[in-house]
């Protein structure tokens, strides 16, 4: 497996999409999207449903290839050997096996990523899942399942963390815990890209924001500069088109 050096230039760290188009047949899910998430920063990817946020994350993770354009994670294609272990992804679906217990699910992924058993125990503790470690994943409530999915995504201490609508459907306490976890990631110098259509949740944790509308980048700004009303206006404008 190729070795990815730690001493890359700052511009090579993090995530970069350049001129990315994604076509499904004749439909363009993404049109000429360019964005960068700098190392150690948290980027909020905003936009109404169907704007292309999930597609951006799937391309960033290497799950899908762009039709045109390039995507780079730490300077290399995300699907490459050596790069995949730097990426953590948590999306709508949990990637968990319902018949396996919480602990068994984590042990399975730990084996795939070469993480020792102690890492699983640590993850269970970190995400307050110790009490349900022997409960089958299929029997967990949505909030717990999301937490377990997040534990799975972060198990191997990835440098780039991609989260697709992580706050959706969460109760207040879990949402707060999630926010704290993301802030911790930022403190640890991880790069986080967070897709959501809700501003409130992302505002607390993001440095920068990119708004997608109809597959295009509509706005790029520092998180502090974007007010909720601006966002609502953008969405409404898109709806009328």
């Amino acid at each position: 497996m190729s070795h990815v050096s730690d001493g890359g230039r700052p511009a090579e760290r993090g995530l970069a999409l350049r001129g990315v188009w994604k076509l499904y047949g004749a439909t363009a899910a993404l049109r000429d999207v360019s964005l960068t998430a700098l190392a150690g920063h948290t980027l909020a990817l905003l936009g109404p449903n169907g704007a292309g946020k999930s597609t951006v994350l799937r391309i960033a993770s290497g799950l899908t290839r762009p039709t045109r354009g390039t995507v780079e994670v730490e300077g290399h294609h995300p699907g490459r050997d050596g790069i995949r272990r730097l990426i953590g992804f948590a999306g709508h679906r949990t990637f968990l096996y319902g018949a396996l217990t919480a602990e068994e699910n984590l042990r399975f992924y730990a084996d795939l990523y070469g993480i020792p058993a102690a890492g699983v125990d640590a993850a269970l503790e970190r995400f307050a899942l110790t009490a349900v470690r022997r409960r089958r994943a299929g029997e967990l409530s949505r909030g717990l399942a999301q937490r377990l999915s997040l534990a799975r995504a972060l198990l191997h201490d990835p440098r780039i963390v991609l989260l697709d609508e992580p706050f959706t459907g969460l109760d207040a306490s879990t949402a707060e815990a999630l926010g704290a976890a993301i802030r911790r990631l930022r403190e640890d110098g991880r790069t986080v890209v967070l897709a959501t259509h809700e501003w409130d949740a992302a505002r607390e944790v993001a440095d920068e924001a990119v708004v997608l509308l109809g597959g295009r980048v509509a706005l790029r700004t520092a998180a502090g500069a974007l007010a909720r009303s601006d966002l609502a206006g953008l969405y409404a404008g898109a709806a009328h088109r």
Binding site: L63, G91, L96, Y97, A99, F108, Y109, D111, Y113
Partner: protein
Amino acid sequence: MRPLLAILRKDLTVEGRSRDLIPAMTLVALLLLALSGSAGLRGLDGAVVVWLAVVVSSALGLTRSFAAEVDQEQLHGLRLAPVDPAWIYLGKAAANVVVVLAVEALILGAAVVFLDLPLGGRPATLAVVLALGAAAVVSAGTLLGAVLAVAKTREALMPLLLLPLTAPAVMAASGGTVKLLEGGEPVTGEVLLLAAFLALFIAAGLLMFEYVIEE
């Protein structure tokens, strides 16, 4: 190697807990035996029915095996992991072989009881043919199962495709089994064919699996 064992263990645990593959497969197989038996089929011909039962029940089971990777997009989780897709194929195939061998043993027992299948005097070679036949069907069926699951297409296509594709293996296995149960005729040709089939489909699986699961 480690990812293969992890996937093997995971699949067997999931099957062991949900217990839906082996019972369903065995029931279908036993039905085939029962229907043949009640229609008067006896003796050596039972060997052919045994292998038909193996491939038909495998067609049923091998679709379900990949269905478990779809509902929570677990397959994506596997793809994101730093694991060569070839290991995913081998791991799943290994788990499927265990399942099919278990069902095969049950079918064989049932055939002895219901169809008066004579168990001849070459158990070692018979075991080899049984194992190779199961592996052959699984090598094709695991690849097909992935292909059909990713295409999100109807499960009914599995028997339609698996049966003709594994026909040479099933023919060799049943022909060989008849010979083994009947007398002393050598089955080298049949064993060679089974090995060749296995080699071809494992190679195809190893090469094509990553193309099948990528998007």
